[in-house]
Subunit: 336 residues, 2 copies
């Protein structure tokens, strides 16, 4: 351990700034994630390599890279490292989530704790957190505001964890209100989106006065993303869904479609307590308007968020990409 | 979330440097740890407050503060924050360790996962990692080399985790060699000591040329600490030991006293496989020389380490404190 270069990365700020186009930056980010997962120490490589086989949509990385776009359409190359860090941090939370939910599959592959045991999976999740934060901390401080980035991630990760804890404490709480639920997902899901948008903003040339717009954009996209996911859980036919249908309900997670259904259909609570059949539950949530109400909420956030994007002083390409991310979060088909 | 001060700490470098005496810095560190554990968000406060009730010996914090002592005997006040961060990071690893080992008690109190459930304990451990890294990242960059500190912690934490994974993979591996075992504990235990010594060194006024001495001191103290703990597990009568006697063996952890015993007493492996009685195992490890050999190793490290301390260009008070830490690591009674 003595001979490695401890923390030298911070001292390389003499290097020149490099710029990349968005597509190039995204490719670099995907290679960086894969490289990081495949070059861990031997003892953990089997686990992280397994994770590298299942590639996500990298919506958080793409959010960050999009926000980092400058008026000339280019991105500072440091964005690659931070975008990879955000995805690795997200991956760490998935590994621990899967232990907590005792999930069998993730992104179509066997979960880490099922394949390698719980102990190894807890440690691997911890390892990924460290790896991500190291990557984020090793950013070259080319600009003053870059120095805010390393602290951003653990700060937002605590919000994610607090949200997960809240969700855990409200397991099978059928009296959960919409307001409480929004607080949970603002942490659990939206905090990591907000972190991505904020870090991207810091790496861009947008002026300080637009900071709150970026924070709100990130938070809204995260909420929309979660609400769309909640609907899919009640809606999707099993064969097209990535995760088992009704997996939220089965693990005791109460989401907005169910919250609304419980409020409007007074008989539902009793039927759940007596052990409702999956198909009957799906029908009840549908016919009580739980799905329609959640879609309405998504639309409200969508309209509000699109307005913020349109008012940004950014180049058209950046705005188009932000709108595409917004549409994707809402579960709309990815456009032409 | 929008209204908090995201990452402002890094921008307060206009403040003047403050200095503290060692005892004062230690008191501040203990209050800071307690304050951090008691001021978490409501959803996690019951868990972290429970942890704050059981106070450890803070040997890592005291190592860091001692190493941070300057030629005038004072410490820069930033050391308090970093020392608290190191202890919180250590605490995080304990929370996850206890889940992994399914331990009932820690520092005389019920473990977190027993009291609050595994899910909450996994998330709480994650939370403490974030809290610690946030605290470490928010250090004011009064001196250039301070900027190396925030990156030091996740880097060393990955070594700790790799060591724990190695240990986990070698569970009930009765063919484990001394060399492999030393590699495990160099990560699992010694890495966090090395991190404490290194961070303390960076905060001190010791010249760069002494860096490797500090790294070696930390690593050696960690190894000594672990070997002494290994002996205690086979040696201590239940009533004086903090943890249940033979807890390592019972959880499948193979340590140096047993490794040596297995090498010299060829019948032992068979007896273990047939289900040896605890008392018989203790006797076998004792009579095969497993404990004596481990104590000899501790003494070798002790002598080597004391020599490094004596050759440091530090003030006598600092050297005395380093020797006291060394003695404590070796399990010697804390001197006058």
């Amino acid at each position: 351990m003595t001979d490695r270069n401890i923390g030298v990365a911070n001292h390389q700020n003499a290097e020149a700034l490099e710029y990349l186009a968005y597509d190039e930056a995204l490719r670099h980010t995907q290679s960086e994630i894969s490289h990081q997962l495949k070059s861990t120490p031997a003892v953990i490589r089997r686990l992280t390599s397994h994770l590298s086989r299942a590639v996500g949509k990298n919506i958080r990385a793409r959010s960050l890279l999009t926000c980092a776009m400058r008026q000339d359409g280019q991105l500072v190359s440091d964005a690659v490292q931070i975008a990879a860090a955000v995805e690795l941090l997200h991956l760490a939370t998935l590994v621990h989530d899967d232990i907590i939910d005792n999930a069998d599959k993730r992104r179509g592959l066997e979960t880490l704790h099922k394949k390698f045991g719980e102990k190894a999976a807890v440690l691997c999740g911890d390892y990924l957190v460290c790896l991500a934060l190291q990557l984020a901390s090793a950013i070259k401080p080319h600009e003053d505001r870059y120095s805010l980035i390393p602290n951003t991630m653990p700060e937002y990760l605590t919000d994610v964890l607090a949200g997960e804890l809240r969700q855990n404490q409200n397991n099978r709480n059928f009296a959960l209100t919409e307001r409480q639920y929004l607080k949970i997902i603002t942490g659990k899901t939206a905090a990591m989106f907000e972190a991505s948008f904020y870090a991207g903003f810091l790496l861009s040339d947008e002026t300080e006065s637009f900071k709150y717009q970026y924070l709100e954009l990130g938070r809204n996209l995260g909420i929309i993303f979660q609400l769309a996911d909640d609907c899919a859980d009640y809606q999707a036919p099993q064969k097209t869904s990535k995760k088992p249908v009704l997996s939220d309900f089965k693990t005791g997670v109460v989401t907005l479609p169910l919250i609304y259904a419980l409020k409007t259909d007074r008989s539902l609570h009793g039927r759940i307590m007596r052990g409702i059949e999956p198909l009957a539950l799906k029908k009840a949530v549908e016919s009580s308007g739980g799905l329609a109400y959640t879609h309405l909420k998504i639309t409200e956030y969508f309209v509000k968020t699109k307005k913020i994007i349109m008012l940004l002083p950014s180049i058209p390409d950046k705005k188009d990409k932000l709108i595409a991310l917004l549409e994707q979060s809402a579960g709309l088909p990815v456009g032409n």
